[in-house]
């Protein structure tokens, strides 16, 4: 779990996770093309995310595809969020989203 928090404690790595959430299964090249980071930096961040199991990789021929793996974050949520709290938090989250959208 330390690895998960360490991996998340960096804006660039969170940005990478956001990119994968928007489009799962990207190659290193695809991720680099849309970010203002060197290929080397992206590669290093991905390794840390993979080490923390936040990114899963699948080989397709010669390509390595990167996927956002939500399981560790789900496990953290399961640890600290009780089952009755979850629906209330979901309701709050829905409300926040609805209010933010109506502001736009």
């Amino acid at each position: 779990m330390d690895a998960v928090f360490k991996a998340l404690a960096d804006a660039s790595r969170r940005e990478l996770l956001d990119r994968l959430r928007a489009e799962n299964g990207q190659t290193l090249g695809e991720l680099c093309a849309r970010l203002d980071m060197t290929r080397q930096a992206v590669s290093k961040h991905l390794a840390i995310l993979e080490e923390a199991n936040l990114v899963a990789t699948v080989r397709r021929g010669r390509e390595k595809l990167h996927y956002l793996n939500p399981v560790p974050i789900h496990e953290i949520a399961e640890r600290w969020i009780g089952k009755f709290e979850r629906s209330r938090l979901q309701a709050l989250s829905d409300m926040k989203q609805a209010l933010e959208q109506s502001d736009e």
Partner: protein, 153 residues
């Protein structure tokens, strides 16, 4: 070869044989699927049914059966709008990492072109992975339907 649509990875503190048993044994699956269970003929070409009681929700066929490392089944809902679509595919890969530790990868892919099904997969597999891990490690699964029922409460 199509790009996998969903990939989930979880580490489980148990050898691959135990994870395999939890995935394929009907009684074991009932322990962590909150009222559902899987009835599977563990051989290539065998049937794989996802059921609640006698009602079949998913009717699949076993494509790959290599105990205790690789299981691939077709995924074909019996009910609802996706029952008319071509089946998709779910693969479970279990690797041993260190002694008595497994890495379970769940891949759901091969959806029909233009299928709307991927949008509905959502948190399902993630919850199954968490409940399976909990069951294998502690003997007790999680309540998969808690969130859903909570909303209705």
């Amino acid at each position: 070869m199509s790009k996998p649509t969903f990939v989930y990875v979880t580490f489980i503190s148990a050898p691959p044989e135990k994870v395999w048993h939890a995935l394929t044994d009907s009684k074991a699956t009932a322990q962590y699927l909150s009222g559902f269970h899987v009835a599977m003929e563990t051989c290539q070409g065998g049937a794989s049914l996802f059921k609640r009681g006698d009602q079949v929700f998913n009717r699949g066929t076993v494509l790959v059966c290599e105990p205790p490392h690789r299981l691939s089944v077709t995924w074909h809902p019996e009910l609802g709008e996706f029952s008319v679509e071509e089946p998709s595919r779910v693969t479970f890969a279990i690797e041993e990492i260190g002694t008595g530790q497994s890495r379970l990868t769940i891949i759901h892919d091969d959806f029909a072109p233009d299928s709307k099904a991927p949008a509905t997969v959502g948190e399902g597999w993630m919850r199954v992975a968490a409940s399976l891990k909990s069951f294998v490690e502690t003997g007790k699964g999680m309540d998969l339907l808690a969130a859903v029922e909570g909303v209705n409460a």
